[in-house]
Every structure is written in structure tokens, then in C-alpha cells.
Subunit: 351 residues, 4 copies
Amino acid sequence: MAGSSFGTLFRISTFGESHGGAVGVVLDGAPPGLEISEADIQKELDRRKPGQSSVTTPRKEPDMVHILSGVFEGKTTGTPMLMILYNKDAQPSAYNDIKEMFRPGHADYTYLKKYGIRDYRGSGRASGRETAGRVAAGAVARKLLEQRGVRILAYTSRAAGIACEQVVPEEIENNPMRACDPAAAAKMVSRIEMLAEEGDSVGGIIECRVNGLPAGLGEPVFDKLEADLAKGMLSLGAVKGFEIGLGFGAVDLKGSEHNDAMSADGFVTNNAGGVIGGITTGEELVFRVAVKPTSSISKAQKTVDKNGAEREIRTEGRHDPCICPRLVPVIEAMACLVIEDHYKRLEAQGV
Amino acid sequence: MAGSSFGTLFRISTFGESHGGAVGVVLDGAPPGLEISEADIQKELDRRKPGQSSVTTPRKEPDMVHILSGVFEGKTTGTPMLMILYNKDAQPSAYNDIKEMFRPGHADYTYLKKYGIRDYRGSGRASGRETAGRVAAGAVARKLLEQRGVRILAYTSRAAGIACEQVVPEEIENNPMRACDPAAAAKMVSRIEMLAEEGDSVGGIIECRVNGLPAGLGEPVFDKLEADLAKGMLSLGAVKGFEIGLGFGAVDLKGSEHNDAMSADGFVTNNAGGVIGGITTGEELVFRVAVKPTSSISKAQKTVDKNGAEREIRTEGRHDPCICPRLVPVIEAMACLVIEDHYKRLEAQGV
Amino acid sequence: MAGSSFGTLFRISTFGESHGGAVGVVLDGAPPGLEISEADIQKELDRRKPGQSSVTTPRKEPDMVHILSGVFEGKTTGTPMLMILYNKDAQPSAYNDIKEMFRPGHADYTYLKKYGIRDYRGSGRASGRETAGRVAAGAVARKLLEQRGVRILAYTSRAAGIACEQVVPEEIENNPMRACDPAAAAKMVSRIEMLAEEGDSVGGIIECRVNGLPAGLGEPVFDKLEADLAKGMLSLGAVKGFEIGLGFGAVDLKGSEHNDAMSADGFVTNNAGGVIGGITTGEELVFRVAVKPTSSISKAQKTVDKNGAEREIRTEGRHDPCICPRLVPVIEAMACLVIEDHYKRLEAQGV
Amino acid sequence: MAGSSFGTLFRISTFGESHGGAVGVVLDGAPPGLEISEADIQKELDRRKPGQSSVTTPRKEPDMVHILSGVFEGKTTGTPMLMILYNKDAQPSAYNDIKEMFRPGHADYTYLKKYGIRDYRGSGRASGRETAGRVAAGAVARKLLEQRGVRILAYTSRAAGIACEQVVPEEIENNPMRACDPAAAAKMVSRIEMLAEEGDSVGGIIECRVNGLPAGLGEPVFDKLEADLAKGMLSLGAVKGFEIGLGFGAVDLKGSEHNDAMSADGFVTNNAGGVIGGITTGEELVFRVAVKPTSSISKAQKTVDKNGAEREIRTEGRHDPCICPRLVPVIEAMACLVIEDHYKRLEAQGV
């Protein structure tokens, strides 16, 4: 109830603060007998880790994952998997200046109001570092989904005001933006480097496509597949919006334009984005999330301290001028977690 | 796990198909001692019921609610409240023609794929009529929130391609669109009547504003207030998108533009829409949902029957050319349910 | 969280007070395609209903069940089943004398302390009548278990100080005690009639045996099959103890006596009662519950009223001098609910 | 759903196998601002650890707990607490002989049947070592309960066939049995040493008393306080029975004997054991659990191997001839977890 668990049958509980002893996850619900190694997990964590390029923070964190339970002789046993990343790069002193002040855009103020106490070191529990646990568990889900023939692909489709004009899947991991259009990616990088120079940041849109899903996956009413995806996405601190299929682009259409007709070959269009009434149609699942500009900027900003006195703050340190490239694997991980959970729920349905 | 329950401490389970015996809700978690009557519930249900105007379906359903448990001598006892609406206007024969065909935009095909069986009468469980149970429970939540000093207000902010240009709260219930701008509402009505004439439909955007919330409400990580709101909203069949604060409008901004600075008087701006890191800031909570055009239209559409043969279908009958006005009270109800649940969670936190 | 739901994947939520509008249950998680009728449900409810013999209350309640959702053309659709029993035999005036007093052994005092308000009519929510909802849902579970080849059989093994000396399954429904030994049953009846004459009551032990379970059913750690059974049983107001296998009879044994050896033909003994470490062995599942004497007696008892003044009370009215016979089908229903839920969990495990 | 979590608002998830990397717990739901140290936790773990006396296993495990998240500057922050104990005394080779055989009384066979794979090293996940995580989280609950004025005390009341004849609280920690009667304890020890000599083991009864509870704690219907306690107790591998108040001792009583009368000074007796209808009466909470004889014995036993061939097995190694003394702190921990969870639920109730 305290908010750190997600999923029903494939269920994770994350723990950890950015500068405490460790971050990580307990995954309860992996099936027994799955071959899995720390390398399988590490591969996905490496896509999320800092220090990958000029558009990500230069911080260096090895972010090595350790599987301490639930795996025996290279296979899952069906018992909870503890996946842990010890914190190494702790420089708590670097946070002394923000100890007394609320950084604009950060959860400093809201956590203090909620809890009356705050681990001010690097955003504490609200740090993006918490998502490492999600990515670790997501890597297990991804492996299961691959065995089911499901492919999950996310990418930056817009950033710094520049939109991708094509989707070239094989180019996504070849550019620092993880954008789906290399030409757009180059423009994004140059604009973001300029913003970073100014001590500023910018947001973007990440699109995710899932192929290989059958028709009939998802629950009705409250636990619609798109509802669980929306929750998973909005549970990421940087995400401010979610849409599926045409999303906000559907609102001005007529029913006769938006409804996906069916022919003997299946659906003629896929405006719905792969789900109707919470349940998959068998078409490609397509959704997008709105990513806000990174809150940490070195430009001077107006704020107050704990006593309400007005202050000026510069969030010095090592921050991501655009979080989209590092958020792409997190979006994929969350999608994997939601979808694998719904597969398990379908298997429990009985027919 | 089967998807028909929502909330953690203020928890509802809805039941019922559009043409079965009844629809309704069991609410477990209402506090004892709350004065509540069927009239309190009915008032909200009447805002959702069909037959209100030229832009809603002319179907007539009295939709009278009965409270069969959990209330004694006019007050809640703390035990589950069963609120039930018996189905009256059943014309199952009217659905004989769709028994064998999948209506475009409807969950006919996906339910059959999931369950292998389908109650084809008026969408069965996937009917919008299921939301009556949500509205009934939402009316209890609303009463509790009013006692906490919280005010929830939703309205159509765009429909049929026409955007409201101002927000005039006292005009919302005075126009058939429940739009926040009476001039825009008039244009919407005339355009929608024209579309209805053509046998077509259209979508829109509903905006919701919540005032009176304290700072510090909401859970961190997965159960962020905005994540639970997103899930609640996407759990409505007609909703295809959700955004909070600036939402998709934030993606092109710079951090220095988007971050909400603080002064001695509090937040200077409210781009975040009232939440940071899942927890309220104490500013107005503002979110929007994308509403797709109603799937039921009388225009001819291409589809297939259960055997995969191509057919033409016209969803005759009595449908809403734009569901926004009837969805407004449902959006409010879902917001009430999410927020009251989070109040209870905050009370359980202990400090 | 408010306590009226049970199960994870085969999940029920009961509602209703003994003298409100109705009692019943919402069952979410029944598979689609199961043939089920009100008669299937009624058969089990009739075993629980009052007025069956001289050792049960003479109250007459038709207790007719109505299935108002989740079933279409005689089959489950996979959506929530609302099963409801309207209250008929309400004589609230009969409860005026207990309105101000706490009946010894009843939850009158504890409910008032918890909620600050109390529906005093016939125990309200704490009434045994609440279990009708459990029995209704249990009947659905039983039908599913029968299809799996599982047989559940409970019976009174001790009552009024008289122990059964043999287990004759086919005699259980032929005696008013639902005892497994007809000779013992006759003695029980005569002793209980005498106690009823004195205005008193008595308790007993109910034993339950489940056959046809495979090895490997149940979850480890907290959700052990026996743990869920224990919870289900202790959730019945009259139950004060639970034991599985030898239970309390195991405490004086040596390990070499208690451990169940294995041979090529399987387990040699079944002291464990069919579960080890929370998971079935494939042997017969055997457990027992301790049933307290009925709290409602017409003998004079000392109590206090709401103001703390000492009073004398006689719970006049129509009560069960021994609840065992009517509790037998409830114990079976709870066992069915727990076991069917664990089957679904096993199916969701994946291998 | 996979069984490794317990509690609703004060919720724990344990992880770990006896010979994997670590065992421990994630506790989500501790309030912020509680002063807590590793020493507070260690104190309780030391009561559970092996090697305490002649009646416990001579194995030496330092069992040092590390708090890796959720605590900042000596106080809880309201975020998940990871408490971890690294495994040190691993001698997996010692388990080679049981790799192929099923030890009688152990979950070897049932786990293999359930999962198709088994971590055979020292019972893996089914090891009693899993309870270290429960004790760690229980220590946090205990600290909170102490602040509420609640005292939890468990002790061995019977072992090796010897019953305690008095309850002397201050002697419990002064004898190796943690028995409540020092004279009985001496007899228990001498009988158990003799059994250990023979390579055998024995069981017992643990009684638990909780003082300082208010009237009105607990939920009705399924989540009765005694139901949650029963589940918690039966979730311990060695526990085969649970009773509250007079328990099985109530079954032969008459209602007029068993009902607890009330006077102006409160309840006259406490046969109910502190709860009626799932909710506390304000009297002392009293329950007992039946503990089976330790399954691991060095006497020869008949069993089969994975291929079904008959074999003889001696569970050599270092085992507890009677687990009661080490189970006492685990019973207390589970009681603390259940009760603290119900306090939080009561606080969430609202009045």
C-alpha cells in the first residue's frame, strides 16, 4: 500500500535511495526453470546507466547487478529474485547546498510535506536511480516475452522540439538519442548540447511499439491493458502524459474515420493502437509518453528554503540535459512488466 | 485479479452487464457515521444517465439506485455498501443483428478472443453502463471530499474540433455539452447535431480541476497520484490519452521554462499541474483526457462476422453522437475515488 | 483492506447485514464457459439455511439466490457474478431489547468500539447470515473442483462432548448433526435437545477431508495452503481453532514417529494431513476446526448496557443450540474457495 | 501472488534461500521518523539464531543484519526498508547426499512437484532461515507497538510431553527452552538432550499473550484479527495448529459457560481470548500454536529418491532437536506484524 510494488502475478517491489546502501528489486512471480544470468540483466542496465554520451550525465556508476536469491545453477527456481545494485558513487557532501532548499521541479518539497523528513542526498527515493530495479526486473520479463514471440521497441520520437520523420528500428541504438530517425537524432544532439552549454534542459516524446501479441490479452474494466500501461508510465517521475493509438489525435475525428474496420484479412487500420476495451486486438500495440525537461539545471532559479525564505539555486553537478535516451530502456522495461503480468493473468483465467 | 476492482483502502468492485439483471458496485472502505442517502447518489447518476439532450442518446433508463447494505438509519456503518441499479430498458432482440458480427470500435471481437464466449447484448460488460457503479461509489467519495474541503470539477474543454476559450464554472451544467465556455458549447451542439444527422459521431477533451488539496497527498514510486489517476482514466473505454499539468505541451519546453519556481508566497507557476514525484504540491490539480468518437454510428461500416466473412454493419439504435457530456460526471467520479483512496492511505501512513 | 474480500485470483467480496436489504457476494475470477444455474447454488444454500431440524433454529428464511450478472445463456462469461439473497424474515422490532445491551459472546461490544455505530438488528454484519454469500460462491468453486476430480467432505466429528467413532460418509447428510457416525449423531441430538430445553447451547469439532488433489498445489512461505485454510476457517465467527494433519496431536510425538516415510508406493503414512511446507503431497488433505458453543442462549446472562450499567439479558428468539450442522456446508465452501484459488495460482505459475 | 508477501499496510516481502547469497526482507509501510538501528533488529535476530544452547542446533551463523535503504540519519524515512543477512555458513557439499532423495517431513518432494526444479541445499526457500526476514521486520513492528503501549510475550508452554504449570514471565529468557515455568523447562531440556542423543526430535506448544490492546482493533468478516494471526502462524513450516482463547478447549462447553459476561468493571472472564467477531475486546489476547517435531533427525528413515527407488536416509548435520525455543521470537515477530498492520488499518478506517 505504501506504493513501492507493481504488478499482480509478476510482481516487483523496488527499494533504495540514490545515496543509501543500495537500490534494487525483489521480483516474485518469475516462473521456475528460466535460464537467466546477471549478464542478461546487466545488458539492459547498461542501456540505462549514466555516462553514455554527450547528451547524458557524465556521472560514472558501474551499476553492477547481483542476483542474491531465486536462481540456482543458472535457472530460476520460482522463488523471489533479489536483484541488487550497491551504491558506489556517493558524494553526499555535494548535496549539502540543497539540504535546506527545494529544487524547482524536484520532489524535495512534496516529500518533506508528506513525510516530515527527507533524505536530501540526490533526490533520495525520488531519484531516477530507483528505476534501475525496474529495468532489472524488466529484463527478466523481456526474456520471458521473447520466448512468447513478443518484441518490445521504444525510441525517442521527438526531442528538443525536433520530430522524427521516419522509424528506422536498426538505427535506434546507433545514435545517442535512441531516436528512430538518424537525421533527426543528429539535430537533436546538436540542439541539446547547446542547451546543456546554457545550463538548461529539454523534454521529448518516447514512442513504444509491441509486436507479436495475440488477440485477447488484457483484463476488462479497471485493469485494462492500456490502464495498466498508463499507470506504469505515469509512475515515472519525468512522464507527464500517456496516449495509446491515435490518443489525443483522435479527439477531432469522426467515428466513421476513427473506427478500425475489419476485413477477411483482419483489421484494416489500427487507430486503436492494438487494444479495444482493454484487450488486445492482435494488431501492433502503440503508445507514446510525454517526457518533461529534466528538472536539474545549472541555470539560476528562484526557490525558497525550509524556512520559506527566498533563495536562488543552481543545481550544479552532473545531470542529463535530456533524459529521453536513458528513459527509453525504462519505458521498455515497464511495458515488459505490464505485458508479462497480463500474460500470467490470462493463463490464470481458465477457459 | 480479474479486473473489476479499483482502489486500495477505499475500494470498489463493480458488476453487471448492460442487459443482464443489474449493474452496480460494492464499496468497501467507506468510513462509519457518514450521512448518506439514495438521493445523494442519484443526483450524480442523473448527470450520467441517457436522454438528457439532443447530443446524448434518447434512450430512457430511470437508473434508480438502491442501497441494499452498509447504511443504517441514514448513516454508513463501515461495512460494504451495495449500490444496485436494476436493468429495465432491456431490448435484447434489438441486438440480434450484431450477435454474429463485430462492431468496429467495440470490444466485441476482443472479448470473444479473450473469453471464447460473449454476452452480445449491448456490449455486455464492456458497456458504458458499467460506469454507473463507478458514479454511485464516486458520489460517496465526493461527499467525503467535500467534508475535507476538496472541490472536483470536470468539463468538456474541446469537442467536435471546437475548443473552449474560457472556463466559466457556473455555466458548465447549463449547457448540454457540459462545456466550460457557453459560446463554444453552442457551436459544439450545432456541429454534433449535424454529425448525428449523418449517422456519425465525434470525440473531444475533458479537463478536470481539483482544488483544496493539501501538499503531501499521494504515494511515491508506483502509486503516484498521477499514476493512479492515469489508470483510472484509461480504464474508461472511450479514453485514449491522459496528461497532467502541461502534459504533452511540456515536451518542447526548456527546464528553465517548465520548472515551477517558488517564492515566499508559494509556487509562482503550476506547470506541473499540482503534483511532483507523485505527491501533491498544494496547487490546483489539473489533468485532461482524450475522448475518442463514439464507436456506435449508424453509417455503414465494413466488418466481418464470427466466421470471418465480410459484412456491412450499421449500429442502429440509440447512441450518443458525442459521449463527452455524459462522461464528465464519470471522470469526476473516478477522480473522487482516486483522491479519497489516497487520503486514506495518507492517514494510514503514520508520522 | 476493509476486510470483506477473500482470495486472490478466485476472489469474492461479500456484502450485507442480517436485517438490511440483502446479503450476497460478488465473485470475480470464475472462468468463462462454466455451466451454472441458480439451482446449483441453491442446493448448497439449502444445506446452510435455518429450520432444518430440532437442532437448528426454527427460523424460516427461503434464502433464494438470484444471479444478476456474469452468466449468459446458462454459462459464465468470465465477468463478475453477483449472487444476491434478499432479506425477508426481518423482524427488527424483535431486536429492540438488545439495542442498548451487549449480548455476551456476540460482537455487539467490539463493533461499537470499532465503528462508533452499530446495526443492532440480529448482529448486523457480524451475523452468521453473511456466510450465505460465501456458500453461494463456494458452490461455483465446488463445481469447478468437481471437474478437476476433487471431492470435499466435511462433517461434525464431535459435538456436545460426544465423539464420532467412525467415518461413514454416506450417513452424513442422513442425520441432523451432519455427523460422520450415525450412532454418535443420535446421542448428540438427544443431548442438544436437552440443552436447548434449558436455554443453553454447545460446541463441537468439524473435520474436513479433501480427496483428489495432486502433489504440488499451494504456495510457499506466507500463502501456504494450510495458512490460507486457517485464515478462511478462523474468519468464521464461531471458529476458535484450526489444525491440519495430527495438529495439536503432533506436539508430543518424536520426529521418527511423526515424519511420513515414503516407499515406492508413495507416502506410508499421512500425519502431515496432505501438505508439507504449504504444498500438497498428493495425500488426503485433512483438517479440523474448533466450534464454540452458540453465543445466543435464552438463559439469563450478566451484561452491561451502552452506559455501562449492569443488566441481565436473555437472548430470546430463534437460535441454533449447536451450529455445527449448519456450519458444515460453510466449512466446505471456504475449503472450496481456498483450493480453487490455489489451482488458479498454480496455473498462473508457468513452468 | 507468489506467496512471499504478508500484510496489507505494514507489508513485508521476504526473499532468500538458506544457501544462496542472502536472506532478508523488504518492509514497505514503516512510518517516517521512527528511530531505528541495526542493533534494534539484531537483538531480535540473536534470539532466533542457531547455536544458543544444547537444545538448539550447534550451527554458527553470525546472522548480522544490514539495513540498506529506508533509514537516514538513524530514522526511517517512510520508504522501503531493505534488511539483509548475507549467507556465510554455506556448506553446500554437505547436502550432496540429499540431492537425490526426499527427506521425510521436509518440503523436498512437494517443492519438486510444484516447481519441477529444487534448490536442494538446506531446504532452499523452505528453510527456517527464511524466518530471519520476518524477525527483522517484526523488530520494527515491535518498536512501533511498544510506543503504542502494547507488549507481546510468547513462550514454550509445553515441549517433549512436559507441560508448564505456571507462567513466570521473567524466567522465560533465562532458560534454554524459553519456557514459562523454570521447573518444567529443566525437565524439557533433559528429555530433549536424551532424544537428541538418540538422533530424534520432539515438538511442543507455544503460547503468546498480548497486552495493552484497545477494544476495537481488527477487521470484520475475512480479515478478522484471529484469522490473520492464524494465517501468520500456519505460514510457519513447523506449525500444525492454532487456537485462540480456549480454542479446542471450548468445544465441549455450554454457551452459558463459555460466553464472557460483562460487569461494570468490564469483562468478567476472557474465554474468547481477547477477540469477538474478529475485533479486540480490550482483554488480553491469548493464542497457542502446535509445533511439530523437527523433521531433520539423524535416525534412519525410509524414503525414496527422485526415481522412486526406496532408500534409507539419515539427516546428518546440525539440527534442532526441538525448535520451540528458536520459534518463540518468530511467533512474536509474526504477532507484531499482524497487530501493527491492523493498527494501520484502523487508522485508515476514519470515523
